[in-house]
Amino acid sequence: MLTERRWNDRADITALLGAFCFFLSAVEYMVPKPLPFMRLGIANLPILLATDLLPLPWYLVLALVKVIGMSVISGSLFSYVALFSLAGTMTSAMVMWLSRKAFGDLISAIGVSILGAVSSNAVQIFLARVVVFGEAARLIAPAFLAMGLLTGIALGVFAERFVAVSLWYARAAGAAARGGAAARGGDGG
Protein backbone atom coordinates (compact mmCIF):
# COMPACT_ATOMS: atom_id res chain seq x y z
CA MET A 1 0.00 0.00 0.00
CA LEU A 2 1.40 3.38 -1.00
CA THR A 3 1.16 5.92 1.79
CA GLU A 4 0.84 9.68 1.28
CA ARG A 5 4.32 10.06 2.75
CA ARG A 6 5.86 8.11 -0.12
CA TRP A 7 4.29 10.40 -2.71
CA ASN A 8 5.99 13.33 -0.96
CA ASP A 9 9.38 11.63 -0.83
CA ARG A 10 11.28 13.51 -3.55
CA ALA A 11 14.36 11.27 -3.25
CA ASP A 12 12.22 8.17 -3.83
CA ILE A 13 10.42 9.67 -6.84
CA THR A 14 13.79 10.81 -8.23
CA ALA A 15 15.18 7.28 -7.80
CA LEU A 16 12.18 5.70 -9.56
CA LEU A 17 12.35 8.11 -12.50
CA GLY A 18 16.12 7.58 -12.60
CA ALA A 19 15.53 3.82 -12.86
CA PHE A 20 13.24 4.40 -15.84
CA CYS A 21 15.98 6.49 -17.44
CA PHE A 22 18.36 3.51 -17.02
CA PHE A 23 15.80 1.11 -18.47
CA LEU A 24 15.05 3.29 -21.50
CA SER A 25 18.77 3.81 -21.95
CA ALA A 26 19.24 0.03 -22.02
CA VAL A 27 16.48 -0.21 -24.65
CA GLU A 28 18.19 2.52 -26.65
CA TYR A 29 21.53 0.71 -26.33
CA MET A 30 20.09 -2.04 -28.55
CA VAL A 31 19.37 0.42 -31.37
CA PRO A 32 22.37 0.55 -33.75
CA LYS A 33 23.97 3.99 -34.05
CA PRO A 34 26.84 5.34 -36.15
CA LEU A 35 28.69 6.85 -33.15
CA PRO A 36 28.52 5.96 -29.43
CA PHE A 37 27.20 9.37 -28.35
CA MET A 38 24.51 9.60 -31.04
CA ARG A 39 21.44 8.55 -29.09
CA LEU A 40 17.75 8.80 -29.88
CA GLY A 41 17.09 10.42 -26.52
CA ILE A 42 14.21 8.22 -25.33
CA ALA A 43 15.92 8.03 -21.92
CA ASN A 44 14.98 11.70 -21.49
CA LEU A 45 11.29 10.78 -21.21
CA PRO A 46 11.28 10.57 -17.37
CA ILE A 47 13.02 13.96 -17.24
CA LEU A 48 10.30 15.40 -19.47
CA LEU A 49 7.63 13.95 -17.17
CA ALA A 50 9.46 15.30 -14.11
CA THR A 51 9.13 18.97 -15.17
CA ASP A 52 5.79 19.11 -13.32
CA LEU A 53 6.70 16.61 -10.57
CA LEU A 54 9.97 17.76 -9.01
CA PRO A 55 11.27 21.12 -7.76
CA LEU A 56 14.36 22.38 -9.59
CA PRO A 57 17.06 21.00 -7.22
CA TRP A 58 15.58 17.48 -7.35
CA TYR A 59 14.97 17.81 -11.06
CA LEU A 60 18.68 18.49 -11.58
CA VAL A 61 19.55 15.59 -9.27
CA LEU A 62 17.41 13.35 -11.50
CA ALA A 63 19.30 14.55 -14.60
CA LEU A 64 22.60 13.83 -12.84
CA VAL A 65 21.40 10.40 -11.62
CA LYS A 66 20.53 9.59 -15.23
CA VAL A 67 23.97 10.55 -16.54
CA ILE A 68 25.96 8.87 -13.76
CA GLY A 69 23.80 5.72 -13.63
CA MET A 70 23.82 5.26 -17.39
CA SER A 71 27.58 5.77 -17.44
CA VAL A 72 28.03 3.12 -14.74
CA ILE A 73 25.75 0.66 -16.57
CA SER A 74 27.48 1.18 -19.91
CA GLY A 75 30.92 1.58 -18.29
CA SER A 76 31.56 4.89 -20.04
CA LEU A 77 31.96 7.10 -16.96
CA PHE A 78 35.49 8.26 -17.77
CA SER A 79 34.99 8.64 -21.52
CA TYR A 80 33.92 11.43 -23.83
CA VAL A 81 30.60 9.59 -24.14
CA ALA A 82 29.81 10.55 -20.53
CA LEU A 83 30.82 14.14 -21.30
CA PHE A 84 28.44 14.22 -24.28
CA SER A 85 25.73 12.67 -22.14
CA LEU A 86 26.28 15.15 -19.29
CA ALA A 87 26.25 18.18 -21.59
CA GLY A 88 23.26 16.97 -23.62
CA THR A 89 21.19 15.89 -20.64
CA MET A 90 21.82 18.95 -18.47
CA THR A 91 21.17 21.33 -21.37
CA SER A 92 17.98 19.60 -22.44
CA ALA A 93 16.80 19.34 -18.80
CA MET A 94 17.34 23.05 -18.21
CA VAL A 95 15.71 24.04 -21.52
CA MET A 96 12.68 21.81 -20.82
CA TRP A 97 12.37 23.12 -17.27
CA LEU A 98 12.65 26.79 -18.29
CA SER A 99 10.25 26.45 -21.22
CA ARG A 100 7.69 24.69 -19.00
CA LYS A 101 7.98 27.29 -16.24
CA ALA A 102 8.06 30.24 -18.66
CA PHE A 103 5.11 29.21 -20.83
CA GLY A 104 3.11 26.99 -18.45
CA ASP A 105 0.01 25.59 -20.14
CA LEU A 106 0.73 27.62 -23.30
CA ILE A 107 3.29 24.98 -24.33
CA SER A 108 2.48 21.28 -24.73
CA ALA A 109 4.69 18.37 -23.71
CA ILE A 110 5.44 18.01 -27.44
CA GLY A 111 6.78 21.58 -27.61
CA VAL A 112 8.82 21.13 -24.44
CA SER A 113 10.20 17.83 -25.71
CA ILE A 114 11.19 19.26 -29.11
CA LEU A 115 13.03 22.17 -27.46
CA GLY A 116 14.83 19.77 -25.13
CA ALA A 117 15.81 17.28 -27.86
CA VAL A 118 17.02 19.89 -30.35
CA SER A 119 19.01 21.82 -27.73
CA SER A 120 20.60 18.58 -26.50
CA ASN A 121 21.63 17.62 -30.02
CA ALA A 122 22.91 21.14 -30.76
CA VAL A 123 25.19 21.02 -27.72
CA GLN A 124 26.41 17.55 -28.69
CA ILE A 125 27.23 18.74 -32.22
CA PHE A 126 29.22 21.60 -30.72
CA LEU A 127 31.13 19.14 -28.51
CA ALA A 128 31.64 16.79 -31.47
CA ARG A 129 33.19 19.72 -33.35
CA VAL A 130 35.56 20.52 -30.47
CA VAL A 131 36.45 16.98 -29.39
CA VAL A 132 36.10 14.57 -32.31
CA PHE A 133 35.27 15.82 -35.79
CA GLY A 134 36.56 19.37 -36.08
CA GLU A 135 35.02 21.44 -38.89
CA ALA A 136 33.51 18.30 -40.45
CA ALA A 137 30.94 18.24 -37.63
CA ARG A 138 28.77 20.56 -39.72
CA LEU A 139 28.24 17.67 -42.14
CA ILE A 140 26.41 15.59 -39.52
CA ALA A 141 24.57 18.58 -38.00
CA PRO A 142 21.46 18.62 -40.26
CA ALA A 143 20.75 14.90 -39.87
CA PHE A 144 21.45 14.99 -36.14
CA LEU A 145 19.18 18.00 -35.55
CA ALA A 146 16.44 16.45 -37.71
CA MET A 147 16.71 13.28 -35.62
CA GLY A 148 16.31 15.42 -32.48
CA LEU A 149 13.19 17.00 -33.94
CA LEU A 150 11.62 13.62 -34.75
CA THR A 151 12.44 11.97 -31.42
CA GLY A 152 11.32 15.16 -29.65
CA ILE A 153 7.92 14.90 -31.30
CA ALA A 154 7.64 11.15 -30.57
CA LEU A 155 8.58 11.57 -26.88
CA GLY A 156 6.25 14.52 -26.52
CA VAL A 157 3.30 12.57 -27.95
CA PHE A 158 4.06 9.64 -25.63
CA ALA A 159 4.35 11.95 -22.60
CA GLU A 160 1.03 13.72 -23.37
CA ARG A 161 -0.80 10.39 -23.65
CA PHE A 162 0.88 8.90 -20.60
CA VAL A 163 0.06 11.92 -18.43
CA ALA A 164 -3.58 11.68 -19.52
CA VAL A 165 -4.04 8.05 -18.38
CA SER A 166 -1.44 7.38 -15.68
CA LEU A 167 -2.63 6.86 -12.10
CA TRP A 168 0.96 6.95 -10.85
CA TYR A 169 1.58 10.30 -12.53
CA ALA A 170 -1.72 11.77 -11.29
CA ARG A 171 -0.91 10.94 -7.67
CA ALA A 172 2.70 12.11 -7.92
CA ALA A 173 1.60 15.35 -9.62
CA GLY A 174 -1.09 15.87 -6.95
CA ALA A 175 1.49 15.48 -4.19
CA ALA A 176 3.87 17.83 -6.05
CA ALA A 177 1.14 20.46 -6.39
CA ARG A 178 0.25 20.20 -2.69
CA GLY A 179 3.93 20.39 -1.78
CA GLY A 180 4.39 23.44 -4.00
CA ALA A 181 1.34 25.17 -2.52
CA ALA A 182 2.53 24.41 1.02
CA ALA A 183 5.98 25.79 0.21
CA ARG A 184 4.47 28.98 -1.24
CA GLY A 185 2.21 29.29 1.84
CA GLY A 186 5.28 28.84 4.04
CA ASP A 187 7.19 31.47 2.07
CA GLY A 188 4.29 33.87 2.35
CA GLY A 189 3.89 33.36 6.07
Binding site: A15, P34, G69, S76, G134, A136, A137
Partner: protein, 218 residues
Protein backbone atom coordinates in the same frame (compact mmCIF):
# COMPACT_ATOMS: atom_id res chain seq x y z
CA UNK B 1 25.51 -25.21 -40.12
CA UNK B 2 22.64 -22.95 -39.04
CA UNK B 3 22.24 -24.94 -35.82
CA UNK B 4 25.88 -24.35 -34.80
CA UNK B 5 25.54 -20.55 -34.59
CA UNK B 6 23.48 -20.25 -31.37
CA UNK B 7 25.81 -22.77 -29.69
CA UNK B 8 28.89 -20.70 -30.49
CA UNK B 9 27.19 -17.46 -29.42
CA UNK B 10 26.12 -19.09 -26.18
CA UNK B 11 29.67 -20.35 -25.53
CA UNK B 12 31.12 -16.89 -26.14
CA UNK B 13 28.54 -15.33 -23.85
CA UNK B 14 29.21 -17.77 -21.03
CA UNK B 15 32.99 -17.25 -21.41
CA UNK B 16 32.45 -13.49 -21.20
CA UNK B 17 30.26 -13.92 -18.10
CA UNK B 18 32.96 -16.08 -16.47
CA UNK B 19 35.62 -13.46 -17.27
CA UNK B 20 33.40 -10.78 -15.78
CA UNK B 21 32.86 -12.78 -12.59
CA UNK B 22 36.60 -13.38 -12.12
CA UNK B 23 37.45 -9.75 -12.87
CA UNK B 24 34.87 -8.34 -10.44
CA UNK B 25 35.99 -10.75 -7.71
CA UNK B 26 39.63 -9.77 -8.23
CA UNK B 27 39.29 -5.98 -7.92
CA UNK B 28 37.75 -3.76 -5.26
CA UNK B 29 35.15 -1.65 -7.20
CA UNK B 30 36.08 1.73 -5.64
CA UNK B 31 39.81 1.07 -5.90
CA UNK B 32 39.35 0.00 -9.52
CA UNK B 33 37.32 3.12 -10.34
CA UNK B 34 39.87 5.41 -8.66
CA UNK B 35 42.73 3.76 -10.55
CA UNK B 36 40.69 4.04 -13.75
CA UNK B 37 40.12 7.75 -13.20
CA UNK B 38 43.83 8.44 -12.57
CA UNK B 39 44.87 6.34 -15.58
CA UNK B 40 42.25 8.05 -17.79
CA UNK B 41 43.68 11.46 -16.89
CA UNK B 42 47.23 10.26 -17.54
CA UNK B 43 46.05 8.94 -20.92
CA UNK B 44 44.12 12.10 -21.82
CA UNK B 45 47.07 14.40 -21.14
CA UNK B 46 49.72 12.11 -22.65
CA UNK B 47 51.19 14.19 -25.50
CA UNK B 48 52.88 11.28 -27.36
CA UNK B 49 50.61 9.59 -29.90
CA UNK B 50 52.76 6.44 -29.81
CA UNK B 51 52.46 6.10 -26.02
CA UNK B 52 48.73 6.81 -26.25
CA UNK B 53 48.37 4.12 -28.94
CA UNK B 54 50.17 1.59 -26.69
CA UNK B 55 47.93 2.57 -23.78
CA UNK B 56 44.88 2.23 -26.04
CA UNK B 57 45.90 -1.35 -26.91
CA UNK B 58 46.33 -2.19 -23.19
CA UNK B 59 42.95 -0.62 -22.36
CA UNK B 60 41.33 -2.69 -25.09
CA UNK B 61 42.82 -5.88 -23.61
CA UNK B 62 41.69 -4.82 -20.11
CA UNK B 63 38.15 -4.15 -21.38
CA UNK B 64 38.04 -7.63 -22.95
CA UNK B 65 39.39 -9.15 -19.70
CA UNK B 66 36.69 -7.34 -17.72
CA UNK B 67 34.02 -9.34 -19.53
CA UNK B 68 32.30 -6.22 -20.89
CA UNK B 69 30.98 -6.32 -24.44
CA UNK B 70 33.79 -5.11 -26.71
CA UNK B 71 33.52 -5.12 -30.48
CA UNK B 72 36.80 -4.86 -32.42
CA UNK B 73 34.83 -4.13 -35.61
CA UNK B 74 32.85 -1.27 -34.03
CA UNK B 75 36.08 0.11 -32.53
CA UNK B 76 37.74 0.01 -35.96
CA UNK B 77 34.78 1.54 -37.81
CA UNK B 78 34.26 4.38 -35.30
CA UNK B 79 38.01 5.08 -35.35
CA UNK B 80 38.10 5.16 -39.16
CA UNK B 81 35.02 7.42 -39.17
CA UNK B 82 36.73 9.94 -36.88
CA UNK B 83 39.92 9.91 -38.96
CA UNK B 84 37.93 10.26 -42.20
CA UNK B 85 35.90 13.18 -40.79
CA UNK B 86 39.10 14.98 -39.82
CA UNK B 87 40.61 14.38 -43.28
CA UNK B 88 37.68 16.19 -44.89
CA UNK B 89 39.23 19.50 -43.87
CA UNK B 90 42.81 19.44 -45.29
CA UNK B 91 45.45 20.93 -42.99
CA UNK B 92 49.25 20.62 -43.43
CA UNK B 93 51.48 18.93 -45.97
CA UNK B 94 49.73 16.81 -48.63
CA UNK B 95 50.91 13.21 -48.18
CA UNK B 96 48.93 11.63 -51.04
CA UNK B 97 45.58 11.71 -52.79
CA UNK B 98 42.71 9.30 -52.21
CA UNK B 99 40.54 9.97 -55.28
CA UNK B 100 39.46 13.63 -55.03
CA UNK B 101 40.51 13.88 -51.36
CA UNK B 102 43.94 15.16 -50.32
CA UNK B 103 45.32 13.31 -47.30
CA UNK B 104 47.18 15.92 -45.27
CA UNK B 105 49.72 15.24 -42.53
CA UNK B 106 48.30 17.39 -39.74
CA UNK B 107 44.69 16.32 -40.38
CA UNK B 108 45.73 12.64 -40.43
CA UNK B 109 47.72 12.84 -37.16
CA UNK B 110 45.04 14.97 -35.53
CA UNK B 111 42.34 12.48 -36.60
CA UNK B 112 44.39 9.50 -35.40
CA UNK B 113 45.01 11.23 -32.05
CA UNK B 114 41.31 11.97 -31.58
CA UNK B 115 40.26 8.45 -32.60
CA UNK B 116 42.77 6.79 -30.25
CA UNK B 117 41.75 9.10 -27.39
CA UNK B 118 38.02 8.69 -27.98
CA UNK B 119 38.17 4.90 -28.17
CA UNK B 120 40.84 4.54 -25.48
CA UNK B 121 38.72 6.40 -22.93
CA UNK B 122 35.75 4.17 -23.75
CA UNK B 123 37.82 1.02 -23.16
CA UNK B 124 39.53 2.18 -19.93
CA UNK B 125 36.13 3.26 -18.68
CA UNK B 126 34.65 -0.17 -19.46
CA UNK B 127 37.56 -1.85 -17.71
CA UNK B 128 37.41 0.31 -14.59
CA UNK B 129 33.70 0.89 -13.93
CA UNK B 130 32.13 -2.31 -12.60
CA UNK B 131 28.33 -2.44 -12.25
CA UNK B 132 28.89 -3.18 -8.55
CA UNK B 133 30.38 0.30 -8.01
CA UNK B 134 28.53 2.20 -5.25
CA UNK B 135 28.94 5.95 -5.00
CA UNK B 136 29.29 7.53 -1.55
CA UNK B 137 26.99 10.08 0.13
CA UNK B 138 23.33 11.06 -0.26
CA UNK B 139 23.63 11.23 -4.02
CA UNK B 140 25.19 7.77 -4.02
CA UNK B 141 22.26 6.37 -2.03
CA UNK B 142 19.76 7.84 -4.54
CA UNK B 143 21.70 6.24 -7.41
CA UNK B 144 21.72 2.95 -5.44
CA UNK B 145 17.92 3.19 -4.93
CA UNK B 146 17.50 3.86 -8.65
CA UNK B 147 19.44 0.65 -9.35
CA UNK B 148 17.09 -1.27 -7.04
CA UNK B 149 14.09 0.02 -9.00
CA UNK B 150 15.93 -0.72 -12.24
CA UNK B 151 16.39 -4.35 -11.15
CA UNK B 152 12.65 -4.56 -10.44
CA UNK B 153 11.79 -3.12 -13.86
CA UNK B 154 14.05 -5.66 -15.57
CA UNK B 155 12.52 -8.51 -13.53
CA UNK B 156 8.92 -7.32 -14.11
CA UNK B 157 6.85 -10.13 -15.57
CA UNK B 158 3.74 -8.15 -16.60
CA UNK B 159 2.79 -7.43 -20.20
CA UNK B 160 3.82 -4.37 -22.17
CA UNK B 161 1.51 -4.51 -25.20
CA UNK B 162 1.59 -1.88 -27.97
CA UNK B 163 -2.24 -1.66 -27.91
CA UNK B 164 -2.33 -0.68 -24.22
CA UNK B 165 1.21 0.61 -23.74
CA UNK B 166 0.29 3.65 -21.60
CA UNK B 167 -1.78 1.73 -19.03
CA UNK B 168 0.73 -1.15 -19.04
CA UNK B 169 3.62 1.23 -18.31
CA UNK B 170 1.53 2.83 -15.58
CA UNK B 171 0.87 -0.59 -14.03
CA UNK B 172 4.61 -1.27 -14.18
CA UNK B 173 5.40 2.00 -12.38
CA UNK B 174 2.85 1.31 -9.64
CA UNK B 175 4.11 -2.27 -9.19
CA UNK B 176 7.78 -1.29 -9.09
CA UNK B 177 7.04 1.48 -6.60
CA UNK B 178 5.00 -0.69 -4.22
CA UNK B 179 7.92 -1.15 -1.84
CA UNK B 180 10.56 1.51 -1.04
CA UNK B 181 13.98 0.83 -2.51
CA UNK B 182 16.01 1.99 0.48
CA UNK B 183 18.62 -0.51 1.68
CA UNK B 184 17.15 -3.30 -0.44
CA UNK B 185 20.36 -3.77 -2.42
CA UNK B 186 23.09 -5.68 -0.66
CA UNK B 187 26.53 -4.11 -0.46
CA UNK B 188 29.15 -5.94 -2.50
CA UNK B 189 31.37 -8.39 -0.68
CA UNK B 190 34.56 -6.73 0.63
CA UNK B 191 36.70 -9.83 0.05
CA UNK B 192 38.70 -8.68 -2.97
CA UNK B 193 42.23 -9.73 -3.82
CA UNK B 194 45.10 -7.70 -2.36
CA UNK B 195 47.02 -8.65 -5.49
CA UNK B 196 44.34 -6.79 -7.47
CA UNK B 197 45.04 -3.60 -5.54
CA UNK B 198 48.80 -3.97 -6.03
CA UNK B 199 48.25 -4.50 -9.75
CA UNK B 200 46.07 -1.37 -9.96
CA UNK B 201 48.69 0.72 -8.13
CA UNK B 202 51.38 -0.55 -10.52
CA UNK B 203 49.32 0.19 -13.65
CA UNK B 204 48.34 3.67 -12.44
CA UNK B 205 51.96 4.37 -11.46
CA UNK B 206 53.16 3.35 -14.94
CA UNK B 207 50.58 5.55 -16.68
CA UNK B 208 51.39 8.57 -14.51
CA UNK B 209 55.13 7.82 -14.79
CA UNK B 210 54.93 7.83 -18.60
CA UNK B 211 53.18 11.19 -18.45
CA UNK B 212 55.74 12.74 -16.08
CA UNK B 213 58.64 11.33 -18.12
CA UNK B 214 57.23 12.79 -21.30
CA UNK B 215 56.81 16.24 -19.78
CA UNK B 216 60.28 16.04 -18.22
CA UNK B 217 61.73 15.39 -21.69
CA UNK B 218 59.96 18.54 -22.93
Amino acid sequence: MAEQRPGRTERLRSRRAARRERYEAFFDPRFLASAGLATSLAFLFQPSLVVRAIMFALFFIAAVASGKRVSPLATLLVGLGIVAANLLVPVGKVLYHLGPMAVTQFALLDGLGKAVTFEGLIHISKASIPPTLRLPGRFGSIVASAFVYYDRIVEYRGNLRPSSLMTDVDALMLKVWEEPATSARAEPSPSHSRLGNILLIAVTGLALGALVLRFAQG
